[in-house]
């Protein structure tokens, strides 16, 4: 057999190897950086680890805050008493204490029945979007709500209600349906403003919605941190 064929097939092989290496490299990198890749268990694990870390730190913050308020309550003499009352009111306003009172419990869920009967339809029409909750919360605030929580997350001045992919973030915590919105305030007024607004819209879109008045709605405290690094109080002359 002649040696002529050896050279040409070797050239072809070298270039093929080059191509193969390029392609393999790209594919390998692809799996690592694509956040939607199911193979990417690494990122999921990091997120889960961070979430448990946040949870433990939040618990620690709560513990320290309780200790602080206990210590403050012991100092109830003379002029300090008035300051204590102010501090207490401020803490309630900031959402740092669990509160209870008359109010409403509103639950919203995805329209699972509707999706079951129309499986070909766009599922976006049947899931609860963050805008619905945002609108509802705004209406509750107009109705004089004193404290609001969504699935156990207390809404404070820094709270967000945000859509990230297929979940909703409240206080940077992922929440999932069914959504339970607890609110303290005048039950009659709150019920009126929501049933003539967002709740009515949701009902007309066939979402399972329920509204329940309660004499004792318990709303948990905000567990996250509240740090103000940039804001400073303006001095009044």
């Amino acid at each position: 057999m002649s040696r002529r064929w050896l050279l040409s097939i070797t050239i072809v092989c070298v270039i093929s190897g080059l191509f193969l290496a390029f392609q393999l490299k790209v594919q390998a990198n692809n799996n690592n950086t694509n956040p939607l890749s199911q193979k990417n268990t690494n990122l999921v694990m990091i997120i889960k680890d961070l979430e448990t870390e946040i949870k433990t730190q939040e618990d620690q913050i709560e513990k320290i805050r309780n200790e602080l308020s206990n210590l403050q309550n012991q100092l109830t003499r003379g002029s300090l008493q008035e300051l204590q009352e102010q501090l207490k009111a401020a803490r309630i306003a900031a959402g740092l204490t669990p509160v209870a009172g008359r109010g409403l419990i509103i639950t919203i869920d995805d329209n699972k029945e509707g999706l079951k009967t129309n499986p070909q339809d766009d599922p976006n029409k049947y899931i609860v979007h963050f805008e619905y909750i945002l609108n509802l919360v705004s209406e509750l605030k107009i109705g004089g709500a004193e404290a609001i929580s969504i699935n156990g997350q207390r809404l404070v001045s820094t709270s967000e209600i945000r859509c990230v992919g297929n979940v909703i973030l409240v206080n940077t915590t992922r929440i999932a349906p069914p959504f339970e919105i607890r609110v303290i305030g005048s039950p009659k007024l709150l019920a009126e403003i929501t049933t003539s607004g967002e709740l009515d819209i949701l009902k007309s879109l066939n979402y399972p919605v329920s509204l329940q008045e309660s004499e004792e709605v318990i709303i948990p405290a905000y567990k996250g941190d509240l740090q103000f690094n940039y804001s400073q109080t303006v001095k009044e002359d």
Partner: protein, 120 residues
């Protein structure tokens, strides 16, 4: 004799992974077609050697035109909104398997002939 092409393949792969150059993500699709076309050429060449009608020029020109044209056609198809990509994958895929089958047949035939001739 067979060692040199295999060595070439390994050398190519080593060079490819050593170079930091990376194909931009938008061209990965066309690169994958080029890879398929080049593999097809390699197996086509092996088949031609076994069937004793190997021609170096045919192999080399076929290799370069096939890979380039495949990638270009896939690109053109994307511009035109026709998925020529799948046509190329299908064509090269079918040919690859056909070549592999022929190589297997040829090797088996040689092995049997040798075995048959040995006792004499």
């Amino acid at each position: 004799m067979w060692l040199l092409p295999i060595l070439g393949l390994i050398i190519g792969a080593v060079i490819g992974s050593a170079i930091t150059f990376q194909v931009p993500l938008i061209y990965v699709k066309y690169m994958s077609i080029a890879v398929l076309a080049s593999l097809d050429s390699v197996f086509g060449g092996i088949r031609a050697i076994l069937e004793d009608h190997f021609d170096g020029t045919v192999l080399l020109t076929g290799f370069f035109t096939n890979t380039l044209l495949a990638a270009l056609l896939a690109y053109l198809g994307d511009r035109l909104g026709v998925d020529l990509y799948y046509a190329a994958v299908f064509a090269f895929g079918v040919r690859l398997f056909h070549n592999l089958a022929t190589i297997r047949h040829a090797l088996l035939l040689r092995y049997r002939q040798k075995k048959y001739q040995e006792p004499r």
